[in-house]
């Protein structure tokens, strides 16, 4: 007899390996698109800002500003999406009672963090070689913000997947909200340039806090939006993760059953 923890570890390992094959080789050159998607977004925005000659945003190199915001946002969005659909894509494997609904969710979240670390490293090193100052001034601050965004992505995904299972219409609502979230989080538009009182409304969004902290971590002289709070990001992240875990515990059977 194996103890429960070693069963969980072997399940996580099995799902992690199976999911990474899917993520990297599912379609022709799937691994290429993992890298190409953020590169194209960053390149497109960098060209737009280049054309209108915005050299710096908040005292920070525009290209780097876009790159960091985009990568951090992609980390959140990809983690959230992958976790949301984790149970659905592993449904046949719940035939094995060792596999619990939470297992694919956690494995996918870790896999996404792993892949985004590689993608971000490649893009940042390329940026550095192109002459941008892509070395973090305060790496720990940036890491802390990135971790918070990842946790919030996990929590969002856990909660969303249960909601979608209980109320199928939520899927449409969540898809609709993802698009404005991209704009409202300050990925391609500096929130600091938005006037009071609208900016304060936008800063209710914890992702906006995360992105600003990542930028501040790379460039200590960056002028952030006033009123940034790391605690606020982590409150959202931890609250959503706990809510998500609770929902998984409560609705474990409904998630797996068809």
């Amino acid at each position: 007899m194996r103890n429960p923890l070693s069963v969980s570890f072997s399940v996580w390992r099995a799902i992690f390996l199976r999911e990474s094959l899917d993520r990297l080789f599912d379609m022709r050159a799937a691994w290429f698109w993992l890298l190409a998607e953020p590169v194209l977004h960053i390149g497109f925005m960098a060209i737009i800002y280049g054309v209108i000659r915005v050299r710096a945003i908040g005292n920070m190199d525009t290209a780097l500003w876009i790159t960091l915001g985009m990568l951090a946002f992609f980390l959140f969005r990809r983690t959230a999406n992958q976790v949301t659909h984790a149970v659905g894509s592993n449904r046949p494997y719940f035939t094995y009672r060792q596999v619990k609904p939470f297992d694919p969710a956690i494995s996918r979240a870790v896999l996404e963090a792993f892949l985004m670390t590689i993608v971000s490293t490649i893009i940042l090193i390329t940026a550095a070689l192109l002459g941008h100052n892509a070395i973090p001034g305060d790496a720990l601050l940036a890491l802390q913000a990135v971790l918070g965004l990842w946790l919030f992505g996990v929590g969002y995904g856990l909660v969303a997947s249960v909601l979608m299972e209980l109320v199928p219409e939520t899927e449409h609502v969540l898809k609709i909200t993802m698009m404005p979230l991209y704009l409202a989080s300050g990925v391609i538009w500096p929130l600091a340039s938005i006037p009071y009182p609208y900016r304060d409304v936008l800063m209710f969004n914890p992702i906006a806090h995360g992105l600003e902290f990542v930028r501040l971590g790379f460039s200590p002289y960056y002028h952030t939006v006033p009123g940034l709070s790391m605690a606020y990001l982590y409150e959202w992240a931890l609250a959503s993760v706990f809510l998500g875990l609770m929902l998984y515990r409560r609705f474990a059977v409904q998630l797996v059953m068809r």
Binding site: R2, V11, R13, Y93, R97, M257
Partner: protein, 221 residues
């Protein structure tokens, strides 16, 4: 040994909770007995097997599994977009056989006789190929009690002979709880029978008696 106490199960339907499929099932299934589940369609045979296998949860009551128990074999358990090999590796890993992986894979490849198709996605398989892979997977592990939900050996005559012999050897070696629609199959492999009727389970030491009880209800009902 599997101990089932006061097991209740019903499913949710479009119109609220459905009827009780199982209503107060009490059973003790010893380790070295082969037992067949008998009952009309919808009597709860597969439901009981899934509950014992731990992939569904009872509304009330409890099951304790004091042995190494297989998953309910024969239905599902394969992810269609992955290849046979990737699926087989997954199942080995879930059962904690990471170090033993190559041996088990070798066995599964040999037994299933899938050849190059083993590295093709499962969704491209014919139903015969699928069941051959499922059959090989179910034989690749050692369990105290096997759960078999219509495990079928599809394939040519030679393969069916080999599969029947392997299944028989497995059934002699360990316990077996099986669902099959064919009376002959059940009698071939099982000594004891559980007859499911109106949400209750009745144990018979002899599977012939279980069939007799089943047929009595048909005649009078």
């Amino acid at each position: 040994m599997i101990v089932i106490e006061d097991l209740h199960k019903r499913y949710k339907t479009e119109h609220g909770p459905g009827r009780w499929v199982l209503q107060g099932v009490n059973l003790t299934i010893p380790r070295n007995v082969n037992v067949g589940l008998i009952g009309a369609n919808g009597a709860g045979k597969s439901t009981l097997l899934r509950l014992i296998g731990g992939i569904d949860h009872p509304n009330k009551g409890r099951i304790s599994r004091r042995c190494r128990l297989s998953w309910p074999m024969g239905q599902g358990g394969l992810e269609p977009t992955l290849t046979g090999r990737q699926n087989a590796k997954f199942v080995c890993r879930v059962h904690g056989l990471q170090n033993d992986l190559q041996d088990r894979l070798g066995f599964i490849i040999d037994f299933s006789e899938l050849g190059t198709a083993f590295d093709e996605p499962v969704k491209t398989y014919s139903s015969g190929m699928r069941s051959r892979l499922q059959f090989a997977l179910s034989l690749a592990f050692d369990f105290d009690i096997y759960l078999s939900d219509e495990v079928t050996a599809a394939g040519d005559a030679a393969f069916r002979l080999k599969a029947a012999a392997a299944f028989k050897a497995m059934a002699n070696r360990s316990g077996l709880i099986m669902v099959a629609h064919d009376e002959g199959t059940l009698k071939q492999f099982c000594q004891a029978g559980i007859f499911l009727f109106q949400g209750k389970a009745h144990w018979f030491d002899n599977i012939g008696d279980a069939f007799k009880a089943y047929k009595d209800t048909l005649n009078h009902g």
